[in-house]
Amino acid sequence: MSAPEPTHPLAACATPGRHGAPGDAPLRVTLPRRDMVQVMARRGREDALAEAARAAFGLALPPAGQAAAAPDATAVWIQPGHWLFAAPRGMEGALAARAAAAFAGLAAVADQSHGRTTIAVSGPAARRVLARGCRLDLHPRAFGPGRAAATQIAHVGCLIHQTDEAPVFELTVFATLAEPFFHWLMEAGAQDGVLIE
């Protein structure tokens, strides 16, 4: 028996199409399928880890509040010594195995591909909609591409990573809390209209 495609945590509620108010500039919502691993540096090995990350993933481990991107992976700082690496969905466990091999002795690696899920929101309404739940200042003068922050939105822990000036924000939440978070997003976006792609 071969492994099936995993069920997306939002499979039951994210119906593609237009929702909420009609309008020319709806909030665009996509659900990129990602593999994610939490990389946790061993005590005193952050420099070596950074070196290994550069060699294996081609990216510089970002400092607090920032993210780094390489063609096939991104790394977001999530807490002191911890990064969340993400890559497009591949073979089950492949990203974790790649990270574990690259960082052996330098970091612990926890696969979070099923434990977190990412909701990407974009369009001119994105900042306005996020402001209905997000306490952080996402204005271009305060935030921007490559910036990331952990916060709470609608009682749910959320990692916000701005990936594009457009703007595009990637919101990464716990899989078991993704549904209520998504309901909040749909309600907050209804007045601007939401397009789920």
Partner: protein, 981 residues
């Protein structure tokens, strides 16, 4: 009626559009630009309400948030909102409003008889009058007073509208869009700052809206702001509170000016604004004067009458008297004259002034050195009595239907005061103004005593520029400021005119000057005490107009200056705010998030009855048609586990990856028992204590690699345990090289339990020799389950041969279905939390009801788990005499002597002969499937010594006493033969 008091031209009124509305069932018309109050005045409606206590007739007194009288019930049905101020309700077509606090009609309110009892209804009368009999207070007096006194009625129905929260950030927040605020926002915006300009009114402009000559400047200012991309103007937004660290709260009335919110839009939006710098340009509220009859409909603040004439194009009276103590009020007389009213007299306690001279030149009858000492009329003002200041007697009578009053201006210092700034007495203005800032705020314009549009605008521009500079922006180019003549707003100190009749200092709460003196006589002389004794300034207007007047009356009684008496502390909210806005979207399903396991849809399809476990949804049981009741389902599910095999979603357990060279050392310190000796591929039951020696949590923890551990926690304590681990790693033992990751969401987990569990697991799990020898109790190994990577644990909570399979959550449904298919031939049944609870009680496993934050390891029969060698959290304090006392209640099993007698958790355990004294209690109760009857776990004093004896389970709430036999808590398979099979 065709608006007989509407002026033909002028003001911010769209006369081409007619809006129909009703007040107390009568139909009227108004125009866009009207408030309900201005439309009522245009239609000649003078009487709009009844007062709080005495039910005196009241009319529109102000033109803004400070309105004490014109409180109405707005809208109908579920949207009916009590106590809304007619002076701030924007008129819309189809508006329905009703007067409130009356019996019978507004014109004939039979509760007005209360006025006859007035001599006995002074401040605090209910504390003194309704003393006897004491029992009557709650049942008779209080309901009676509450019915008689009061405000409007809430709808009592669920609010049909949506509210939402929102967050905003700016360099400079400007509160108030009058001349000062507009100039401040423009100056700060021109400097490049991100600016928010919040204005409670629908139209920005403040007093500029009353100055046709300055309309060009107002429009130019708004156009300039509109052209600045980083400036946001927020009309209909009340900034209600100034909190620490530059955080301010505001409510935006998104849809209140419409009959109902448009689709997808909230009714109101509660903003949390984080500002680096704040400019307060909140203006001032006009001050009333306490004189007998100062509450008669037709008595109105002078600035309000001016505003109704100039902004709304409404003549609030035909024959007007102005009673003023400063020049700033005189424009009202000129405005009313322009509007076509006759100025009967101007009464001023001063001898002469520039404005008085100008008034004389305009032909007005200026009564210098005089005061108003009474009013004539009932439901409408008919006349005014005027006398020399301080003279005795009733004075000369003037026929008038409008008395415009101004005792000066009260700077709106509320937000400055809330920010921590002290209030400083200004002897010239006889007012409190903001002192040195504590936070990064500054006041500009009338709210700091700078009066006149030109002066306020200049003050605002300077404040805006300074705020932008303080926020790091270079000085901005200057722009044209309005030019306007200034009037001297320093008032003559006339707070009260003494005479026969009630002179109100608080119109809304019916507090008179005499009440303030009574408070002083009764010993409530401090302003805060006097406020509570008299209810002065406690209404929805919060004393904006008369608060300082009451303080001045109190000051005179105390023989001290007003500056020393002060004002009561300002607290949020500056104006009434709908509570729905505070709740925001946090109602219904958004009150708290609902957490669902990856198998939620599977349980739903099985018809699960849901149980809330914290924020998790877990299946309680899965009813079937043939089940007579819930118990039938639960017993069926539990029996399936005991006799065949069951399947259960255990994904909610907390799961933590603990990894690193020092992980074993770390776990040895965290757990009360030893983990470092555990070989790879094995699990162990672990017990954590709190630092105070009480049991914190339990669970099985597995060694999945030499330096890698998989810790599980109870569902309830998953978060606290993670915090506990992180805290100790970060603060107590930073030298340990250990990493922690919560993997609760990554892994879903399924328990398969029952004598046939092995066959079922063998049917869909590959890569493991499941024989008892190769994979014994407490073994752990990676495997493949239905083709997906998984991890198999041989652990048991039910007391049967059991396995738990953890798999990446996205595969949970797939694996569950594979397990169900593999189990079909073995009679597998899903079981929920109720059956799980039943099974663990039979087995004597402790859970939440026993791990209740009060029990020790010894209490739970787990004392032998505490390691003898090595330190661990809770070791020292667990030795305290109180915790090691052998007489503490110990965990026991309990079985009802008569199997048909139900027992309940919470029942107390009494000795059959020991009447009354509780020896312990039942923590968990259930029906048993192993032996018919009710069983439970309990904590019983000297529990071990009492094994085999009888106790009484007493539940006085239910009137039940049940005989119970004390047994071992391990009521099922105490030798663990089944789990090891």
């Amino acid at each position: 009626m065709s608006q007989p008091h509407r002026l033909p031209t002028g003001g911010h009124i769209d006369r081409a559009t007619r809006l129909a509305f009703t007040f107390d069932g009568r139909r009227y018309e108004g125009h866009p630009g009207d408030t309900l109050a201005s439309a009522l005045l245009a239609n000649g409606v003078r009487l709009v309400g009844r007062s709080f206590k005495y039910h005196r007739p009241r009319g529109i007194f102000s033109a803004g948030v400070e309105e004490p009288n014109a409180l109405v019930e707005l809208r109908e049905g579920a949207r009916r909102e009590p106590n809304t101020r007619a002076t701030v309700i924007e008129l819309f077509d189809g508006l329905v409003a009703q007067s409130q606090n009356r019996r019978g009609s507004l014109a004939f309110d039979w509760m007005a008889a209360a006025g006859l009892l007035a001599p006995w209804l002074g401040a605090g009368f209910y504390y003194k009058t309704f003393m006897w009999p004491a029992a009557w207070w709650e049942r008779v007096y209080e309901p009676m007073i509450r019915r008689a006194a009061g405000l409007g009625r809430a709808s009592g129905l669920p609010d049909p509208d949506r509210y939402e929260a929102a967050h905003a950030h700016c360099d400079v927040l400007v509160v108030g869009a009058g001349a000062a605020g507009l100039a401040a926002a423009r100056a700060a915006g021109a400097a490049g700052a991100r600016v928010i300009l919040a204005e409670q009114d629908a139209l920005p402009g403040g007093d500029l809206l009353n100055e046709p000559a300055l309309e060009g400047w107002r429009r130019a200012a708004l156009a300039a702001l509109d052209a600045m991309p980083e400036v946001t103007v927020m009309p209909r937004t009340t900034v209600f509170g100034f909190y620490d660290h530059g955080v301010l709260g505001a409510v935006e009335r998104v849809s209140d000016h419409l009959p109902e919110p448009p689709p997808h839009l909230p009714r109101q939006r509660a903003w949390t604004i984080r500002a680096r710098e704040v400019v307060l340009a909140t203006g001032a509220h006009e001050r009333l004067i306490a004189f007998p009859g100062n509450d008669r409909p037709g008595v109105m603040l002078a600035g309000a009458a001016r505003g109704y004439a100039r902004r709304h194009g409404v003549r609030a009276g035909e024959a007007a008297v102005l009673f003023a103590t400063h020049d700033g009020a005189y424009e009202a007389a000129h405005a009313m004259a322009e509007a076509g009213a006759r100025i009967v007299a101007i009464v001023d306690p001063r001898q002469d002034s520039a404005a008085m001279q100008r008034a004389r030149e305009a032909g007005f009858d200026v009564r210098a050195g005089s005061e108003v000492c009474g009013t004539v009329g009932h439901a409408a003002l008919r006349g005014v009595s005027v006398r020399r200041v301080g003279a005795a007697g009733r004075g000369d009578a003037f026929a008038a239907d409008l008395l415009m009053v101004s005792g000066g201006w009260n700077p709106a210092v509320h937000l400055a005061s809330m920010s921590g700034a002290p209030l400083v007495w200004d002897e010239a203005l006889l007012a409190f103004i903001p002192g040195a800032p504590v936070q990064r705020e500054r006041s500009a314009g009338a709210c700091r005593g700078v009066h006149g549009i030109a002066a306020a605008a200049a003050d605002g521009a300077a404040a805006g520029r300074a705020a932008a500079e303080a926020a790091g922006f270079a000085a901005s180019p200057s722009f044209a400021l309005p030019e306007a003549p200034a009037a001297d707003c320093r008032p003559f100190a006339l707070w009260e005119v003494k005479g026969r009749g009630k002179a109100f200092v608080d119109l809304q709460d019916d507090v008179t000057a005499a009440d303030m003196r009574l408070a002083h006589r009764e010993g409530f002389s401090h302003i805060e005490h006097a406020k509570r004794y008299t209810t002065h300034a406690m209404g929805t207007d919060q004393g904006k107009s008369g608060g300082i007047v009451g303080a001045a009356v109190l000051a005179e009684a105390r023989g001290e200056p007003v500056a020393r008496v002060g004002l009561p502390r300002f607290r949020p909210y500056t104006a009434p705010i709908a509570w729905g806005a505070m709740a925001g979207e946090g109602v219904g399903r958004h009150f708290q998030p609902t957490r669902r396991t990856a198998l939620h849809a599977v349980h739903d399809a099985l018809g699960a009855v849901w149980l809330d476990a914290g924020i998790w949804k877990r299946p309680a049981y899965y009813p079937r048609k043939e089940d007579a009741d819930a118990w039938a389902s639960v017993l069926r599910e539990a029996r399936a586990v005991r006799e065949r095999v069951g399947i259960c979603d255990v994904s909610t357990l907390g799961k933590i990856l603990v990894e690193g060279p020092d992980a074993a050392t770390f776990l040895d310190r965290i757990y009360a028992n030893t983990f470092s000796t555990l070989p790879v591929g094995r699990a162990r039951y672990g017990l954590m204590l709190r630092e105070d020696g009480i049991v914190f949590d339990d669970g099985t923890t597995s060694r999945i690699g030499p330096e890698s551990w998989f810790v599980t926690t109870t569902t309830a304590q998953a978060g606290p345990v993670m915090q506990h681990l992180e805290f100790h790693l970060a603060s107590a033992w930073p030298e340990l090289d250990v990493s922690l990751a919560s993997v609760t969401d990554q892994w879903a987990a399924i328990a398969i339990a029952g004598p046939r569990a092995r066959e079922v697991v063998a049917g869909f799990v590959q890569g493991i020799d499941l024989s008892n020898e190769a994979f014994p109790f407490m073994a752990v190994a990676d495997c493949t389950a239905a083709g997906v990577p998984a991890r198999l644990f041989r652990i048991s909570f039910s007391g049967e041969l059991a396995y738990e399979i953890a798999m990446p959550a996205g595969y949970a449904t797939h694996v569950w279905q594979a397990a169900m298919a593999a189990g079909a031939a073995h009679g597998i049944e899903p079981y929920g939390m109720e059956a799980l609870g039943l099974l663990r009680i039979e087995k004597g496993h402790v859970a939440g009801p026993e791990l209740n934050g009060q029990t020790t390891a010894q209490d739970l029969g787990l004392g032998r788990m505490l390691k003898k060698k090595g330190d661990f959290i809770g070791r020292v304090l667990a030795q305290r005499p109180g915790l090691t006392d052998p007489s503490r209640p110990r965990l026991v099993g309990l079985r009802s002597v008569d199997p048909s007698r139900q027992i309940r958790a919470g029942s107390h355990l009494l000795l059959p002969d020991g009447k009354g004294r509780s020896e312990g209690w039942i923590t968990s109760a259930t029906r048993s499937v192993v032996e018919p009857g009710w069983i439970g776990l309990g904590l019983l004093r000297e529990g071990e010594a009492r094994m085999g004896s009888e106790v009484i389970a007493a539940n006085p709430l239910m009137g039940e006493e049940v005989r119970m036999r004390v047994v071992s808590p391990h009521m099922h398979d105490p030798e663990n033969i089944r789990v090891r099979a």
